[in-house]
Point group: C2
Chain length 171, copies 2
DNA sequence: GCGAGTCGGTTTGATATGCAAACCTATGCT
DNA sequence: AGCATAGGTTTGCATATCAAACCGACTCGC
């Protein structure tokens, strides 16, 4: 299932952490908005530029980086002139819950009148606004509020407090 | 429930979108890692600096911005010398699912040997790794894969395709 | 064939931001 | 006094970002 380049966690500036690693790939400005646009069905350079508001040179750089990272793929839709659209890979689709989390957080805390909300089961009578929470697929329980333990592998550093620096009492 | 400043969605560079608005507050480099550190129990400047690896001046700027945004609050823990720690507000705690999403995505796609994983119900025999998904609290169904409709308010622009520009055929 | 327009970028030059390292203030410790 | 620690701020330089101009390949209308 691992199609992307293994990420060198130990090269991260702070603690070796999957969150920091993820942000190295998709945390730069415009990157997540590019993924949003593509997920909305806007696959072309000009559409993504309009939807995000990103400068064209930044957009070009981000698109290349996201393709290299394996989050997007280029897919030709015309040979003359040669034109390609950008589409989500499996990894790209798998990051959409993060965007839904940001959407819900923004709607909850930043406004009384959300410009866009998600509706569940839109055709049915019982359609309702999505009220998302992060839930464990294995046991069905919400992750927030459950007893959760963070388990570290040897490279994982200490979670709380300062790491013990290399001992220098002998110099 | 809205304790933060209402965000001017219409001032965003691209479409007026809660995701973009959220990223304006927490999308800059180091911000989400600062929130991660505080959520781990590292409340002091030097602890956060160590845990994130952020330069001290950047950290200072991010902490101030996050306090202003209402994601963190300063809480004095010593009067002489005057010292404060940084703690999550309700809004700050509410963004942790986004970090869990990034954690899981990084663990899934960036490595075979995650440096840190979340374990559910650690004391019990049935403890297991968290396999999170974004689920609707109202109906209990996963959001991914369900029929979901994006509902726009008037300010929400078109989701797909380019917006119709102001007509200029008469000049 | 010719001019205008579109698409997907790249280049340019000014501005803003990020960075490491040094510095500063207040305090405690001996 | 002399040194150490915490929590920053300042400095000087490097990098990234931005808006705007430019470019090559093509299409369309005539």
């Amino acid at each position: 299932m691992l199609v992307m380049q293994p990420f060198p966690f130990q090269d991260l500036p702070g603690r070796p952490c999957p969150i920091a690693a993820s942000l190295e790939l998709v945390g730069e400005r415009w990157s997540l908005l590019v993924i949003r646009e593509v997920s909305l069905g806007n696959h072309r350079f000009s559409e993504i530029a309009q939807g995000t508001g990103a400068p064209r040179d930044r957009l070009s750089a981000r698109l290349s980086a996201l393709v290299t990272a394996g989050v997007l793929e280029r897919r030709p839709y015309s040979t003359s002139p040669p034109r390609s659209g950008y589409h989500l890979t499996d990894a790209g689709r798998d990051i959409l819950p993060v965007l839904q989390g940001l959407l819900q957080w923004g709607n909850r805390w930043l406004t009384d009148e959300p410009p866009v909300v998600l509706h569940h089961a839109p055709g049915e009578r019982a359609g309702h606004e999505v009220d998302g929470e992060w839930t464990c697929r294995t046991c069905g329980e919400p992750v927030a509020g459950s007893p959760v333990e963070r388990v570290l592998t040897p490279a994982g550093h200490r979670l709380v407090g300062l790491p013990v620096e290399a001992d220098d009492h002998d110099r």
